[in-house]
Amino acid sequence: MSIVQALMEATSIVFSWPTIGWVVVGLFLGIIAGALPGVGAALGMAIVLPLTLPLQPVDALIVLVGMYSGAMYGGSISAILVNVPGTGGSAATTLDGYPMSKKGQAVEALAISATASAIAGFFSVAALILLSPVIIELVLAFGSPEYFVMAILGLALITVVVRGSIVKGLTAGAFGLMITSIGIAPNSPELRYTFDSLALYDGIDFIAALIGVFAIAEMIKLSAQKGGIAGEAINMSGSALSGVRTTLSHPIKLLKSGFMGMFIGAIPGAGATVANFFAYGEEVRSSKDSESFGTGNPLGVLATEASNNGTIGGSLVPTISFGIPGSGATAVLLGGLLLHGLRPGPDMFEGELATTYAFLIALLIGNIFILLVGVFLVTRLGILTKVETNVIIPMVIVLAILGGYTLDTNWIDVWTVLGLGVIGYFMVKYDYSIIAFLLGIILGEIAEENLMRSLQLSGGSYDIFVMRPLSLLLVIMILVILFGPFIKSKLKASFNN
């Protein structure tokens, strides 16, 4: 079957009834799963997976990928409204999304999120249809040394995103890294700080940590405030349309973040959380007005939300091509493929090409649905920010605790949510950067595991990090991030003299 024939067949499948209905059902369920902290795409899809058994394989996959896409967007809703990232992929969205809500601009922030998610999602899936061979090459070029250097690049971003004392920022980052040393060591079966408890065997779940430092910490802070999240004296301003306009007026930033998400998403194990923070860091770094980030800069929401929906296209490549899922959600999707008799591998791009295209086209169509629902329906939830805090606080705390427990039915996650919530409150109060802490806790394990493995592969030589083109490029990027501003100001000074 030729590509054109397959595309035409796939299009007719997607637009037939009831398939088109399943697109909507998947996205709708995904948005709800994404907005609920701790549920997210993987768990939501796993709950729905057995229910898809009676469906046609293509319909079942459309429901599952629709949920994946919907959840990626849905995570931003609670991130923006109540500072609770529904998924790891929207953790960085809170950084400017929630301050916008506090300023009374929740509706605009939600509209930016929907528009950026939809457009970036659309273009990254469209690019996936065209670029999948190139993405496969990228996946294979990314080995253990590159993973390690990428994690260090992320840690180097701490110097870009931290406001105020850099020492406090580095301390917060080191605290995050230290937490990742809990649990079984990545390269030997050695147990560290588990106190003989199986619950601590896998360490501290970073999703629980980020629910804690965002949700619980903010609720403690809000408990001293009268009125709603947006404050009594603040008037709601901004409209859904102005959010759409803001997004559309920055097409380059939008596509840059979206494609950044797509490439990071293609690397198994990196995923939406890493993409979300990288896109945010890059937006802050490249901005002339970097000081305004963290105080409600709409571009912070735009970049983060474009990047996480961008990861979807990228992450599907290793899953469909080699049966290698790069994240929890794609692992469930892989389970779905197998459950319905579809085997990942070359056949998905040959005999089953029409099915593959059908669910990619469903993803494309789904983005239009996200845009409509996001802009016209979800923005109405902006009023939540005017609801009295004594109503909001108990609800968010209950959702955060339920979310923590739902992650892995492990009570340690609930204690993490509460414990790091309190620590997070004091960190914010005394100006220790939460984002630096999170970069540490998200990237620590990736860095340790891949450093050890790389050194094993090289026989202990550190040359491995600069002898391969891609890792050398990443090392140069780290140097530019760390020393670029310093050299730039020196050069400027010498030119002026």
């Binding site: 907005a35 899809m45 997976l49 896998d202 459950l339 609801v387 609800m395 959702l399 979310g403 892995d408």
Partner: protein, 344 residues
């Protein structure tokens, strides 16, 4: 902002209600809390829902089987069989939960000897897996070795020669301290494959991917995890390690046919269902009957054919035997302290 606040208030309340309800329902569904009250394993077993623990994440190999056969088993047993994924701690957390439950037949778990036993041998727990009550086996998954195509490795003999003459040094598979690492050590002892360094990855998928990109020359994998990459010619299939061969690669002769010692206690995952120690016989009988009916049903066979997930049926005694064999044989051939120290 032309809308009246009261209208929006309704939207807000219903949103929060839906959100709370959805979260609570998902939680209850997962935890199997929809059960009324616990049964006692009396004569009319089963009279209540049975908690089916999967000690692995959603979407993994064991989970895929459980979600396919779970509803059918429930139908046979006449009760609901809510699946609970208690993953983590190399499958020991969910397994431990089952081992510490009442032996009334209302908590069972699916795990895969020798993988879970190896995890327990390396990190000893306060329960003895050889005392678990076997309810039956439903599948086997053989291990294979794959290599990067550039090396043009012909077969197992050739692979061993390459390691012997120093052309290859690194061997890989899943994480160090896990079953693949133990397997690699046993293969060095028993088959003389002299690798120098074992590099571990976070699962068979990543190990196969590392082989594809030539980060490592060869890796141990399950046959299903290697299937797509072999079909794509991204990796070469070197050999099938289990004596029964592989349904995924039916044309490949197992290494035992080439005269290598059989190590099925280690190189083949037996997927089984287990209950706590001292579970009554009538529970075992009820499960054996239900499992046999389901695994030999047309529906299951069709699914197996479509998906390539192999199915078998064997009774509870066989399920117990594979665990016992793992505990008897592995400590004899591998120094577990050495594995714990991860010396190489």
């Amino acid at each position: 902002m032309g809308k009246d606040n009261r209208d929006r208030g309704i939207g807000r309340r219903s949103f929060v209600k839906c959100a709370g309800a959805a979260s609570a329902v998902s939680l209850a569904g997962l935890a199997g809390c929809l059960t009324d009250d616990e049964g006692d394993g009396g004569d009319d077993y089963p009279s209540d829902d049975i908690q089916f623990i999967i000690p692995f994440s959603e979407g993994g190999g064991t989970d895929v089987y459980a979600r396919e056969m779970g509803p059918m088993l429930g139908e046979e047993l006449g009760v609901n069989l809510p699946i609970e994924n208690i993953s983590g701690a190399a499958s020991l957390r969910g397994t431990g939960e089952m081992m510490h439950s009442e032996p009334d037949g209302y908590t069972v778990a699916a795990y895969n000897p020798p993988s879970t036993p190896v995890s327990e041998m390396v990190n000893e727990q306060d329960f003895d897996l050889t005392e678990a009550t076997g309810l039956g086996l439903f599948a086997t998954t053989p291990f294979v070795i794959v290599a990067h195509p550039d090396y043009e490795i012909e077969d197992y003999d050739d692979l061993i020669d390459r390691y012997d003459d120093g052309e290859l040094e690194i061997f890989s598979g899943k994480e160090r301290g896990g079953i693949d690492h133990v397997m690699a050590k046993v293969m060095r002892e028993e088959h003389g494959i002299n690798w120098e360094e074992y590099v571990g990855y976070d699962g068979s998928g990543p190990a196969v991917e590392a082989t594809m990109s030539d980060e490592v020359p060869a890796a141990i994998s399950t046959d299903t995890a290697a299937e797509a990459a072999v079909a794509d010619d991204s990796v070469d299939l070197v050999c099938v390690l289990a004596s029964g061969g592989s349904g995924v690669f039916p044309d490949e002769e197992p290494v035992t046919e080439q005269g290598y010692e059989e190590m099925d206690y280690l190189v083949e995952l037996s997927r089984g269902i287990y209950a706590p120690p001292e579970t009554p016989d009538e529970v075992v009988e009820a499960w054996e009957d239900a499992l046999e009916t389901v695994m030999t049903s047309e529906e299951m066979e069709e699914w197996s054919e479509e998906t390539g997930n192999e199915i078998i049926y064997d009774d509870g005694a066989a399920a117990e035997a594979v665990v016992e064999e793992a505990y008897e044989q592995i400590p004899d051939v591998v120094d577990l302290d050495d594995v714990r120290d991860a010396a190489d």
